[in-house]
Symmetry: none
DNA sequence: ATAAGTTGATACCTTCGCCGCATCGTCCGG
DNA sequence: CCGGACGATGCGGCGAAGGTATCAACTTAT
């Protein structure tokens, strides 16, 4: 008989790849942990962990089982949560992931709108970067994410929920802060620019690179969050290209300047002047009735076009 | 701490709406069942079943929890099933390397056959030359390669999956294009011949050299891919010896002529008339169940003998 | 080459939780 | 008012899980 404790034990070992540390994490000693894993393997009938006396590693079947284990444990938690929320009068719970900066621009209005149109639904917020949101959705910890493209479309479905312009964040004492017109790529020739990590912040990396094509900025540093970029700008380390909603961050010592064409590519496929997209993403095929209602409501909103 | 037994107990009671019958279904007596339900309700923190001494019924929260319980128990079963299927090799991903020209002759039928006989297995294709396939297998990037001999047998295991004849690719306006019989080595005396790089394309280099032993062709250029050789032939730079499947390449201005004995050595060790071998290779000792099944299936096919 | 240190598995013991039996308390029907 | 039905509770025994000590295999360092 498989037990949840065995599943939790397996997850700990699979993540640590070390029985001793896993046991510590589980607040138990190593011997019973070994026995639990053995027992789990016996009931499943499959070797999940390949272990010799030097190292522990997951088998192919173990990797798949780990994946299911995350879903399982997430479901255990959420089942209890759900019962408690309903007991408290709610009709549903939406576990919503969001990125820090998307929150500034549209999370407030989104939540207000949801609360008004679907009052029984309780929203539980989880701030995560895009990749962590995808992980969370995959593991069943989140129902919906607000994240930046690109996503694996075989795994996730998505819908654009917000579009905005790209603009420049400039130190208040910088020469560009005085320019009284939309900036062009050429304005950044030789200017220190805070850039984005091409992997962890791929979306803004590509937007930045695209806008600055043919310009020759001095790329200063590669960050992976908008907020970090703005703070570095405030510290005078250079300029950065950020979504327009970053204006609301209220960081002292930073001036925001418009870009020509809103920072977008006039020949590109995006909406003119609003190249920065935020998508709602969810697991393909895992549309609960609650999620369906939320998506329908989000579809009715006009979050990127109110101004 | 919630346990799966408690969830199963709850499901039984929720379905029977009667502790006695539920206990019977669970093959236990009624008292411990009552206690398990109480414990579950304590850990969840919600009354799931409203019971007076005459009847049992689900609360609103209990109905929602029942729903999640079904999902939970289904996931418990399916997690084990999935692990067993993968362990049995019925499901998995095969990362398959292949050379461009091998694809023409047999990759299509191979993939079709695999898809029919092992439908749970997803094949991801990587086009690479033989050496790069060996590298990929060594690094664990590929599970299986379709490549030309020779291989380091201490590191790789292999199996012949396809045999074909060697033939001559001749420019359409070349004198040899008119010859109405299988060509011999002597026919190439003094004729410009595109040859192969003895290192990067060792296999075809050796086949060519062996066939042309005692002949005196004018070796023109050493290429390392079949396709390049054929394109040079089309450009009129000379003749080349290529595997029979290159006929399907459809390059204009090239005529293919049979060779005596299919280009092979009648006293050699290979199959008469089909000296060009394609091997499936994999890392020695790294036979996953999935790979084992794929190899078994490949063994059942008759890919080199259908014509 | 040998000794010391790691790491997962095993042996043995203790403890704690679950099950079953017996019984209780309450409500309903006759 | 009494008997029956049903879920809750008290109690004793047993089995499963955890802890300590130790083993076996292997790596690393001196």
């Amino acid at each position: 008989m498989m037990t949840l404790d065995q599943v939790r034990a397996f997850v700990a070992v699979a993540e640590e790849l070390h029985f001793g540390r896993a046991a510590e994490r589980l607040r138990m000693t190593q011997p019973p942990l070994s026995r639990q894993i053995q027992k789990l393997e016996r009931t499943v009938g499959v070797t999940l962990l390949e272990r010799d006396n030097r190292k522990v590693e997951l088998t192919e079947a173990g990797r798949a089982f780990l994946d299911e284990s995350y879903r399982l444990l997430a479901l255990v938690d959420s089942a209890g949560d759900l019962a408690r929320r309903i007991d408290g009068g709610a009709t549903g719970t939406l576990r919503l992931g969001f990125t820090a900066v998307s929150a500034i621009g549209m999370l407030g209005p989104l939540l207000k709108d949801l609360d008004r149109s679907l009052p029984g639904i309780e929203v539980i917020l989880h701030e995560r970067v895009t990749a962590a949101q995808a992980d969370g959705i995959r593991r069943g910890e989140l129902d919906l994410g607000l994240a930046r493209p690109p996503f694996d479309t075989s795994e996730f479905e998505s819908r654009v929920v917000f579009r905005e312009a790209l603009c420049a964040a400039v130190p208040a004492d910088h020469a560009l802060a005085e320019v009284d017109r939309p900036l062009t790529a050429g304005d950044f020739d030789g200017v220190p620019v805070i850039s984005y990590n091409p992997v962890q912040s791929r979306y803004f990396h590509e937007l930045t690179v695209r806008f600055l094509t043919n310009a020759h900025p001095r790329v200063e540093q590669q960050v992976h969050q908008i907020l970090t970029a703005v703070l570095l700008v405030a510290a005078g380390r250079g300029c950065a290209l950020v979504p327009a909603s970053a204006r609301s961050l209220g960081v002292q010592g930073v001036v925001y300047k418009d870009l020509v064409d809103g920072g977008g590519d006039p020949d590109g496929s995006e909406v003119p002047g609003r190249p920065v997209e935020l998508h709602a993403i969810w697991a393909r095929g895992r549309r609960s009735p609650m999620l369906r209602r939320v998506l329908a409501q989000i579809g009715r909103m006009r979050l990127g076009e109110e101004e």
